[in-house]
């Protein structure tokens, strides 16, 4: 259980035991608690006082399936709030195997200085000058780094966007195949990494220093039961392996809540061409892999390997949110173009969601036409080239809207909404407005309540409570390193029971069902506290005006949640 602190101002690093005040924390619980404790809330996110904290979950590195998520936290240059963004691939498990609880990057390198941070098999850190890699896109550099340091490494890497310190810059993470196609996408953490002077972090995957499990026998038995629950749940056992998250295109359009053409319609004309069904069929026909293993110890296999008409690899994994942002919001109904845009974003190192929405805003403003695939590809490529427009697009939809004097900009606190229109899913309106992270879907997606028929998505009733409960649940899950998708079985008695037993066996404690939400509330309180000190008030917990004034076809609803009700969502 160690911390590695790296100071980029004097290029020193130090390994220590985890300080007492942070014991028992992991993932988002650790990053948010530390950011709130150690980062001045009014600091410049791209300055020396911000910290970039990389933390696996408390279960990462154990033998439990689907626990290889890594949380990355900082003050966000996009939103100005606290931010946690998590990524899949191999990094979470890798850090767990090294017994590393967090890597904390502090200070700032000098102008023009660029480094690789290397963590070896003993968990020792070193900084290696990397100026020769300046400007390199992530795929080429990841390949090079794995050649130099060996294939058995996890890589966290920024592309040109992070080096330009653009507010939508991502930190890409390598998957099981060594491709930088997983992402800590949201919130501009790639810009923070770039501002510190780090181009990539290369971490040895062969650590043998996993934290001890308190009761190994009980852990093994409970882990087996949890894996069973995953296999038996229809979502994780059947749908996700078959269609991936792209399987959401059909239900969300069928509900009239798929924000299309810059959120002017809830159904996209031609959505069937870019659905999960269409994607799986196309990939299979071309000899790609529609049920690809992307992350360590995953038994869901929601990932895919998209190939072109000649069977050549294009991108992995093409997800629902990217299909929405690059297809729904832009009117591009061609999977090849969308796949290419996904690859471009991963290569340049930007959040596909913020960028797709930015392109949608640009189209709505008339810069290019909706549906212009070649035009969209050119715009996104400009981010990598560092043109003036490219930098604006890389800074997010607010920047695009300001440049083009356009008023319909679907963001909250600078971060774009996700693939669920708040007018068509009123609970997601609450999450977008009130999440400490800005408009966010993984923070608290209420979709499940609508799909099960428990709640009416078009009425205000019950939405605040549903959003609150799911935000609390997700904050807890985000501490563990467990993949969001593998958290669905937690709602069944078998899955929920097995998970509690896993946690208790790991730590030698006796958590009950109420302790999990308590963990989530603790995390949210830290985040809300930071944001308040950073200057945010309830006035910032509102959606853009057009969501309240422009009815969304086909249901023609606006956001129905009152300001007072929004303010009650996260009152603890």
């Amino acid at each position: 259980m160690k911390f590695i602190r790296v100071n980029m101002s004097d290029k020193s690093s130090a390994v220590s035991e985890v300080p007492e005040q942070y014991l028992g924390l992991g993932g988002r619980g650790l990053t948010s608690t530390m950011i709130n404790a150690e980062v001045p809330p009014t600091c410049d996110p791209l300055g020396p006082d911000n910290k970039l904290i990389i933390a696996p979950g408390v279960l990462s590195g154990t033998t439990l399936v689907n626990t290889s998520r890594v949380s990355i936290g900082a003050k966000s240059p996009l939103t100005g709030t606290i931010k946690e963004s998590n990524a899949g691939g191999t990094t979470g498990a890798t850090l767990g195997h090294l017994g590393i609880t967090a890597i904390i990057i502090e200070g700032q390198a000098g102008d023009g200085e660029l480094f690789i941070l290397k963590i070896d098999g003993q968990g020792e850190a070193s900084l290696i000058p990397a100026n020769e890699y300046q400007g390199m896109r992530t795929y080429a550099l990841t390949e090079k780094l794995l050649e130099i340091y060996g294939q058995k490494n996890s890589v966290l890497i920024i592309g040109p966007a992070g080096e330009y310190q653009l507010a939508s810059a991502s930190i890409q993470a390598s998957d099981v195949d060594g491709r930088p196609c997983r992402a800590a996408g949201r919130g501009g953490l790639g810009a923070v990494m770039g501002s510190k002077g780090i181009k990539a972090i290369v971490i040895d995957r062969e650590g043998k220093d996993t934290d001890a499990v308190a009761d190994p026998e009980a852990f093994k038995a409970a882990a087996k039961d949890f894996a069973q629950a995953i296999k038996e749940h229809p979502m994780t056992g059947q749908m996700l392996p078959a269609l991936g998250t792209a399987g959401l295109v059909a239900p969300v359009n069928s509900m009239g809540a798929f924000p299309s053409l810059n959120a002017t319609n809830g159904v996209m004309t031609g959505w069937e061409k870019i659905s999960g069904e269409a994607l799986a069929e196309l990939i299979a026909k071309r000899g790609g892999n529609p049920s690809h293993l992307g992350c360590s110890q995953c038994i869901v296999r929601c990932s895919n390997e998209f190939v072109d008409a000649e069977g050549q690899f294009v991108t992995s994994s093409l997800e629902y949110e990217t299909i929405w942002s690059m297809g729904g919001m832009t009117g591009i109904d061609d999977l090849d173009t969308i796949a290419r845009l996904d690859r471009l974003c991963d290569d340049i190192g930007v959040d596909t969601m913020n960028i797709g929405v930015g392109v949608g805003v640009a189209m709505d403003a008339g810069k290019i036409n909706f549906g212009d695939g070649a035009g969209a590809i050119d715009m996104v490529d400009q981010i990598g080239q560092g043109t003036d427009f490219g930098k604006v697009l890389g800074n997010g939809p607010d920047a695009v809207g300001q440049l083009l004097n356009h008023k319909r900009i679907p963001t909250v606190k600078g971060q774009s909404i996700a693939a669920y229109d708040p007018r068509g899913m009123q609970g997601n309106a609450v999450t977008y407005a009130t999440s400490p992270m800005g408009a966010d879907h993984t923070a608290g997606n209420v979709l499940g309540e609508y799909v099960s028929g428990a709640l009416d998505p078009l009425k205000a009733d019950g939405q605040v409570e549903a959003s609150r409960n799911t935000q609390i649940a997700m904050a807890a899950v985000d501490c563990t390193g467990l993949c969001l998708l593998a958290s669905f079985p937690l709602t069944t008695p078998e899955g929920g029971g097995a998970f509690l037993k896993v946690m208790n066996a790991k730590f030698g404690i006796q958590l009950g069902p109420d302790d999990i939400p308590a963990m989530g509330i603790r995390v949210l309180k830290e985040e809300l506290d930071f944001n308040q000190k950073a200057g945010f008030t309830n006035k910032d917990d509102r959606l853009p005006e057009f969501f309240y004034n422009e009815p969304l076809p086909p249901h023609n609803k606006t956001v129905l949640i009152s300001d007072d009700d929004m303010d009650g969502a996260l009152k603890f």
Binding site: P234, M235, Q238, M239, L240, A242, L243, T245, G247, L248, A250, P251, S254, M255, G256, G266, V267, E272, E277, C302, E319, Y320, E321, H441, T442, N445, L447, G448, Y450, V451, S452, G453, D456, P457, L458, L484, L485, F488, P554, H555
Partner: protein, 79 residues
């Protein structure tokens, strides 16, 4: 009365000759509910599916309207 039914997930494979572009056009009596439709289409485990009628999520006991487009989808949520 005629309605159009679109199927998703594993369902298309259960209907020989199902065309995903057009879906299934079927003739049903007035007053038929979603539950009745599941039985008619021989859908196993209907609780595993969500139904949208003209872009609204509806309950299994709801009555189907004339000329509707119905989508039968596996219950799925994600990110």
């Amino acid at each position: 009365m005629k309605v159009r039914v679109k199927l998703f997930g594993p369902l298309p494979q259960t209907i020989p000759g199902y065309n995903s572009r057009n879906g299934l056009e079927i003739n049903i009596p007035d007053g038929v509910t979603i539950n009745d439709l599941f039985a008619r289409l021989e859908i196993q485990e209907p609780e595993g599916y969500m139904v949208a009628m003209n872009n609204m999520v509806i309950k299994p006991t709801d009555i189907i309207k004339k000329g509707s487009v119905l989508s039968i989808l596996p219950r799925i949520a994600g990110g």
